[in-house]
């Protein structure tokens, strides 16, 4: 049966899209692999793979530095990718797009540069639902500078506890930086970034957003989001590994000191001291991930071709179907919102007596790929009173049939370990 989530009247045809992703034809025990680990990393369409081959086969050269034909082609493709990313997220200009190696580097960059002049007494605010990549850089910054790290807590249903924050004066005149995730990679919660950004700006704080799980799944417009700096990562949005993005409001970027030093980020290097290039190059030391940025440019072309609204709609439908299916399983606790209201596509759950490693291993044997562990969000799991969880996460190529396969395999797993 073809369900709404698989093929809509609006023309979204998941079977047609799947044909673009060669890895989805891989079989395990004679059945196509069921890949439900897209919040971890996404699969790549043929056009992205081909773009890498095309680049290395015909246009490979270093960028910015070379006067020759290949150098001009590589530079044009690389800077063209920057323009594509700028358009994709509604940046005011391409110079607002900095290429990094991943979201983690982008977040560390913000902590080092925005936080360079923090002092004891200053406060940094983050949330208990962050990925380690948006916790550890701020802990390290607090340690370097003596600033205090404070936390948004969550409510029982896995949303930011805005009331408690208000009551505790979490964001106040001491606050210098507020950082939070747009979409939780464990709970799926979509956070009210605009509202919090406005509060932060009202006290003169800067706002850093981890959009690693947001940009792949839904239309994100930087002007509407209201943040100062936003990080996301190529490999989760059908792009190659090895490339991430920091978007920054140009004036904010222009006021930041450099982070990594080296070739291409300088203006003049003298033995007595150096001056630095304007953004974005100030933040791109050394040879950038050239082929990877070009591949990411093709990835956003692909996503735009499918339509980010359509992808978000599909994500909502497949997530609703997944939440429904999981709720039929006895003793299964879903972490985070159980309805698709302000909710992304990652669904984590707990089976009590059966450890996520054992769950994911048994699912894998049935050809279903999910992730078990703390998903780089140990403080959140501690807050939830569990050590780890199992996470299923779909993407634009996920079908209801795959969700059915997961639910079946979960039934088998439970029988195997509980012996009933």
């Amino acid at each position: 049966m073809t369900l709404a989530a698989d093929k809509t009247s609006a023309g979204y045809d998941v079977a047609a899209l799947r044909a673009d992703f060669p890895i989805l034809r891989r079989e395990v025990n004679g059945k196509p692999i069921v890949y439900l680990d897209s919040a971890n990393t996404s699969q790549k369409p043929q056009v992205v793979i081909d773009a890498l081959t095309e680049h290395y086969t015909h246009h490979n050269a270093n960028v910015a530095r070379a006067m020759h034909l290949l150098g001009a082609e590589a530079t044009e493709a690389f800077e063209g990718a920057r323009q594509k990313l700028a358009t994709f997220v509604g940046a005011a200009r391409p110079e607002e797009i900095v290429f990094t190696k991943n979201a983690s580097e982008a977040l560390n960059l913000t902590a080092h540069t925005l936080g360079a002049d923090l002092k004891p007494g200053d406060e940094i605010v983050t949330t208990v639902m962050e990925h380690h990549s948006n916790i550890v850089p701020w802990q390290m910054l607090a340690e370097r500078t003596g600033a205090t790290l404070r936390w948004f807590d969550i409510t029982e249903d896995g949303r930011l506890d805005l009331a408690a924050a208000e009551r505790d004066g979490l964001i106040n005149e001491k606050t210098r930086i507020v950082t939070l995730t747009l979409v939780s990679n464990v709970l799926g919660t979509i956070n009210p970034v605009r509202q919090i950004a406005d509060q932060a700006h009202a006290v003169g704080a800067k706002v850093v957003v981890d959009a690693s799980q947001g940009v792949p799944q839904m239309p994100v417009d930087m002007a509407a989001l209201g943040a100062d700096l936003v990080a996301f990562t190529g490999h989760k949005m059908v792009g190659p590994t090895g490339v991430g993005v920091l978007w920054g409001n140009y004036d904010v970027l222009a006021a930041l000191p450099p982070f990594l030093g080296g070739g291409e980020m300088i203006e003049i290097v003298r033995m007595t001291g150096s001056t630095y290039a304007k953004p974005p190059h100030r933040f791109e030391a050394g040879t950038p991930p050239i082929a990877q940025a070009i591949g990411l440019g093709v990835a956003v072309d692909y996503l735009t071709g499918v339509g980010m609204e359509a992808i978000a709609q599909h994500e909502r439908e497949i997530t609703a179907y997944l939440l429904q299916g999981l709720q039929t399983i006895d003793g299964l606790r879903i972490l985070g919102p159980t309805e698709v209201v302000d909710r992304g596509g990652a669904v984590s759950f707990d089976l009590g007596d059966i450890h996520p490693h054992d769950v994911s291993q048994m699912l894998d044997a049935k050809g279903v790929a999910v992730r078990g562990g703390h998903h780089c969000a140990r403080p959140l799991h501690e807050r939830l009173g569990i050590q780890s969880s199992t996470r299923a996460s779909g993407y634009l190529y996920t079908t209801t049939g795959e969700v059915d396969a997961l639910i079946d395999a979960l039934g088998y797993t439970i029988k195997f370990f509980r012996g009933k």
Partner: protein
């Protein structure tokens, strides 16, 4: 091999009914081992009596493989010499890195031989070794403290 085969009854039995589990006092060394990528943890204590491993006690969170491997380990080393325990560690360690190709010795590894199948699943090797690595570290600690000269410790060390 099938995953169902990997989960030998011996493993599931140890998982459901862990041997020597819980933290006991007094002890000579205490260590915490973590598997950073999933968060599994074990806290383990070793008590020596001269050159003999008098007791191994532990508490932890982890999957069936890590829990069962720790349970099997305690059976193998409690009451044996420290040298013997280190030999078992080396043997188990080698087996787990054999990709399942080693023919394990039932004489020496007893229930431990059930884990040879786990060695085929590279992602689970760390799980099976979690408690064993804790043991090795704890033994190293006691060795670093010359001749057990330090006082036997109690809980909040």
């Amino acid at each position: 091999m099938d995953v169902e085969e990997m989960y030998q009854e011996i493993i599931l039995d140890h998982y459901r009914q862990k041997h020597h589990s819980g933290l006991r006092e007094p002890f000579d060394a205490q260590v915490v081992q973590v598997n950073p990528s999933c968060g599994d943890e074990v806290m383990l204590r070793v008590t020596l009596d001269g050159d003999t491993v008098k007791d191994v006690s532990y508490d932890g969170v982890g999957c069936s493989i890590s829990q069962a491997a720790t349970s099997v380990m305690t059976d193998l080393v409690i009451g044996k010499s420290v040298e013997n325990a280190r030999e078992r560690y080396a043997e188990f360690h080698e087996m787990m890195h054999s990709k399942g190709r080693m023919e394990p010795n039932e004489e020496t590894l007893e229930d431990g031989i059930a884990f040879v199948g786990v060695a085929k699943f590279v992602n689970r090797v760390k799980c099976a070794l979690l408690g064993w690595e804790a043991l090795r570290e704890a033994l190293d600690q006691t060795a670093a403290e010359p001749g057990g000269a330090t006082a036997t410790m109690t809980q909040e060390k």
